[in-house]
Assembly symmetry: C2
Homo-oligomer: 207 residues x 2
């Protein structure tokens, strides 16, 4: 009698399921094209539905974006957090552990990274603030790692620390982008490749 979580409605599928579908499609679309270039109609079409339904279910375009941002941000943040926490003495160095964690967390939906790092979010908007909040939280974690490094080389310039943190963030973004362009690469393969690349970079003549 009571229809608790039963499939309901007409032609389509229950709301919860449709919402999951939409969020997956929107995350990929926002990540790939960016917020500005993504249209509600396109997202709707991807799941075989029309625009008004998205508005009924999620509200405005920005609300839909926020719906994508939260799970992605949480997932990435905890991935980095745990990767930095378990530093067994036999484990790979922290940067590689973090990268490996990111690749694992993004596997299956690699574009999700760019939901966090979308430069086309309306400045000053709720979406921009929330995305920045997640970025800052991740940067915070990165900062503890880089600070350690900087002490070891004797640099105490705070701007150096900031730039290094920034460079690390940019490097992660770049590597994820490369990964997206090479869909056949597994997270493991990527982690190994990063290790080799780091080793190569270390071979630069220090002038």
């Amino acid at each position: 009698m009571t229809m608790l979580p039963t499939r309901a409605g007409t032609k389509g599928m229950p709301r919860a399921e449709r919402e999951r579908q939409v969020l997956a499609a929107a995350t990929e679309e926002f990540g790939r094209r960016g917020y500005e270039a993504t249209t509600m109609a396109t997202v709707a079409a991807r799941v075989g539905v029309t625009k008004p339904l998205l508005h009924q279910y999620f509200g405005s375009k920005q609300d839909l974006f926020l719906g994508c941002l939260e799970p992605v941000g949480d997932r990435l943040l905890t991935a980095v957090r745990t990767a930095m926490a378990d530093h067994d003495n036999g484990a790979p160095p922290t940067p590689l552990r973090v990268l490996r964690a990111l690749f694992d967390a993004l596997d299956g939906q690699r574009e999700a990274w760019f939901v966090l790092y979308d430069p086309s979010l309306p400045p000053g908007s709720e979406a921009a603030h929330r995305a920045a909040h997640y970025r800052d939280a991740i940067d915070e974690l990165a900062a503890t790692g880089t600070a350690e490094l900087l002490r070891s080389t004797g640099s105490d310039d705070p701007l150096d620390a900031d730039a290094l943190k920034y460079a690390w963030r940019g490097l992660c973004t770049t590597l994820v982008r490369w990964w997206i362009e090479h869909p056949d690469q597994s997270p493991e393969a990527m982690a190994g490749r990063c290790a080799r690349i780091f080793a190569t970079a270390r071979a630069v003549d220090p002038g």
Copy 2:
């Protein structure tokens, strides 16, 4: 009698001068906000003029973009080319020489870098192709540098080479972006900072 390069016209200024003004403003705007988010009206307003004038002088929005792209692309390409050419034996290592050349070439108009690396260009458009052409030309130069490095570490995976090239490009982009957020930093200061950052990165425990 003949009015060769004389100041002409009415209230404003001669066309050549206005065009230079517009190109400077548009380059900054395209670089800062990206192609999509830049509006003709905004660029026009920046130089105290209205939209139709831009169309009369440059044609379409894309034409205006191409007008910005060409000088920027040429400037950056030759900067990198010459930086890689003069490797005296006492000089800093190639990556740092290239960065220094970029900072010098971009000084006074740092956003110009992102005219080349704008992800919001209409896919398949003339603008996208031309920008890609410049990027590829610069990458080509970078590839000769990274290939040398890779030989020295024994890796012969072509994907490693591609990823390294890609990572280098991304690192440059990231460093320029940091620089834009720190307007008081001179090119010299940036070059020095990059050297310190590289040294710090080399201190990562190789696992």
